[in-house]
């Protein structure tokens, strides 16, 4: 399988091509080893930090912003969002407070102070 990947390591933005055969990934179009590494990760285990919001129960019309403490598998973003839609939190909330434990191997933490 062949995949086109735009490198995001530096502003140059190399247009790369990755050829995936079984466990091996062959990258072309990159200008540096970092780009090659990024392309391989994108093909084997792409991850993203998800940022979203959670409703604050005891404050009117207030959302607290949250993020996954570590990046999660790219394919799990919709699942993470679905879990966040089910929960609410109580103020006061501080940056770094855990909002949800154990989501795809990481935690959801608050990124805003709600006093």
């Amino acid at each position: 399988m062949e995949r086109k990947i735009t490198c995001i390591i530096c502003p140059r933005g190399c247009p790369m091509t990755a050829v995936i055969e079984g466990d091996s990934v062959k990258v072309s179009g990159h200008s540096c080893p970092k780009g090659e590494e990024y392309a391989i990760n994108e093909c084997t285990n792409p991850v993203r930090t998800v940022t979203a919001t959670v409703r604050v129960d005891n404050r009117r019309d207030v959302m607290v912003s949250v993020k996954t403490e570590n990046p999660v598998p790219k394919g799990s973003m919709a699942d993470v969002m679905a879990q966040l839609r089910k929960i609410t939190v109580q103020a006061p909330i501080h940056i770094g407070d855990v909002v949800l434990e154990d989501v795809f191997g990481t935690k959801i933490v608050a990124t805003k102070e709600i006093l």
């Binding site: 995001i8 993020k67 973003m77």
Partner: protein
């Protein structure tokens, strides 16, 4: 009338960093005035990450980045007047503001303008059609969703591929909306590459370049938009139009530095940046009034806003201590071939190394920037790529600057 050494208008990233820098430079009588009930400005609604990589060496979300500086302000006990709207700044540095308690007048020794920018609206675009609900500037939609918890729509078209438009494409998708298209009038995106990859490609959202919205449909609620391709003069091409059904149109079509106070004060403006003309310490052409952040010129990274605001804060502190004595002989700067603007617009040549900030006119491949004064070359900088969406910085060394004469001109040549 109250008196303070330094009054800062705006408590966003620029205002906070300027306040902290001025304080740390030894002028501790600093106050911040902000119209919102909390510090942080636009960062409070920018819940995505990617902030702080350059400045703090870690990747933070907007509210977290704001909190780093809000804490520094708090640690120094710098007073903040919340929900306080500045209504005028006079050339002799009287700041007038109003809040619930009434009208506030402060005589400042130095003023730092840090009001940020606002979004260009539908009215500025002259799009034909009706005026239904469902049309938002991207930043307004961002605030409604991220701060207030109101989802603005289900089926979305975004006009403009600047960073806010791209970020909102991802945000709307994550919240369950279907983003049908991002349309961009220009033949290239003004957004950062990483945003095109992580906000559009990740979600399979198509980006249509050289395409714009030519008509808006719907009576009460938006029912769809007609889009068309445009030619090299940005005029719609007949026969290329098509209808996209949608209930929401987000406009991410440019930011305008919010300079009403600056203009009423009579501060000379740069028509290209939309901000005041400043020197290398961010002082405007009105003595003792400084400007920094997006009110000076629109930045792509908040990290650079903080850097610039620190220069303004230090500059204002030095001005308070030294007064007029700190004004020296100026060199003017100029944007040459391939360069849209240069900030600062003038600089003193005897104050140390000076950083020039600029944007290019269009996307380029490998380029060489040359900074000259008269027939003397002050700096050369090569870049693998240059795009209008990514601000460039070139440092001029004091050793070369001190003997420079004439206009400092930056131009680029494609290699």
């Amino acid at each position: 009338m109250k008196k303070h050494a330094i009054v800062i208008v705006g408590g966003g990233p620029a205002g906070m960093a300027a306040a902290v820098a001025a304080y740390d430079r030894g002028v501790t009588d600093v106050v911040i005035l902000d119209r919102e009930p909390r510090l942080g400005g636009i960062l409070q609604q920018c819940i995505h990450n990617g902030f702080g990589l350059h400045k703090l060496g870690r990747e933070l979300t907007g509210p977290e980045y704001a909190d780093v500086y809000a804490q520094q302000v708090a640690e120094r006990n710098i007073p903040v007047f919340y929900e306080t709207m500045v209504t005028s700044v006079s050339p002799d540095r009287v700041v007038t503001a109003r809040n619930r308690e009434g009208i506030l007048k402060i005589q400042a020794e130095a003023v730092i303008l840090a009001m940020g920018c606002r979004e260009r609206s539908r009215g500025a675009l002259n799009i034909c059609g009706t005026r239904p609900a469902g049309i938002y500037s991207a930043g307004t939609a961002q605030k409604l969703i991220n701060c207030d918890g109101y989802m603005v729509g289900k089926r979305v078209v975004i006009l403009g591929s600047g960073d806010i438009g791209l970020i909102m494409a991802r945000r709307m998708s994550l919240e369950g909306a279907k983003v049908e298209a991002v349309c961009e009038l220009m033949s290239y995106s003004g957004g950062l590459t990483r945003n095109i990859v992580q906000c559009l490609e990740d979600f399979g959202i198509p980006l249509y370049l050289s395409t714009t919205v030519v008509q808006i449909h719907g009576q009460k609620r938006l029912e769809g938009v007609t889009v068309a391709q445009v030619d090299e003069n940005r005029r719609p091409i007949e026969g290329t139009s098509r209808f996209i059904p949608c209930d929401t149109l987000l406009l991410s079509v440019g930011l305008i530095p919010e300079n009403e106070l600056t203009q009423v004060c009579g501060i000379p403006m740069d028509p290209v940046t939309g901000g005041a003309m400043v020197d290398e310490r961010c002082m405007t052409k009105v003595s003792g009034i400084f400007a920094c952040g997006n009110v000076l010129h629109v930045h792509d990274l908040v990290d650079y806003v903080s850097d610039e605001a620190e220069r303004a804060g230090k500059g204002a502190a030095d001005f308070v201590r030294e007064g007029k004595a700190s004004e020296g002989a100026y060199l003017q700067t100029k944007a040459g071939k391939g360069v849209r603007y240069v900030v600062p617009q003038q600089l003193r040549k005897d104050t140390g190394d000076v950083d020039l900030f600029m944007r290019v006119t269009q996307p380029f491949g490998k380029v060489k920037f040359t900074v000259t004064a008269g027939d003397k070359v002050l700096a050369v900088a090569k870049r693998l790529k240059a795009a209008p969406g990514e601000m460039e910085r070139i440092t001029l060394k004091q050793a070369l600057l001190q003997d420079a004469e004439g206009t400092v001109t930056v131009e680029l040549e494609e290699l």
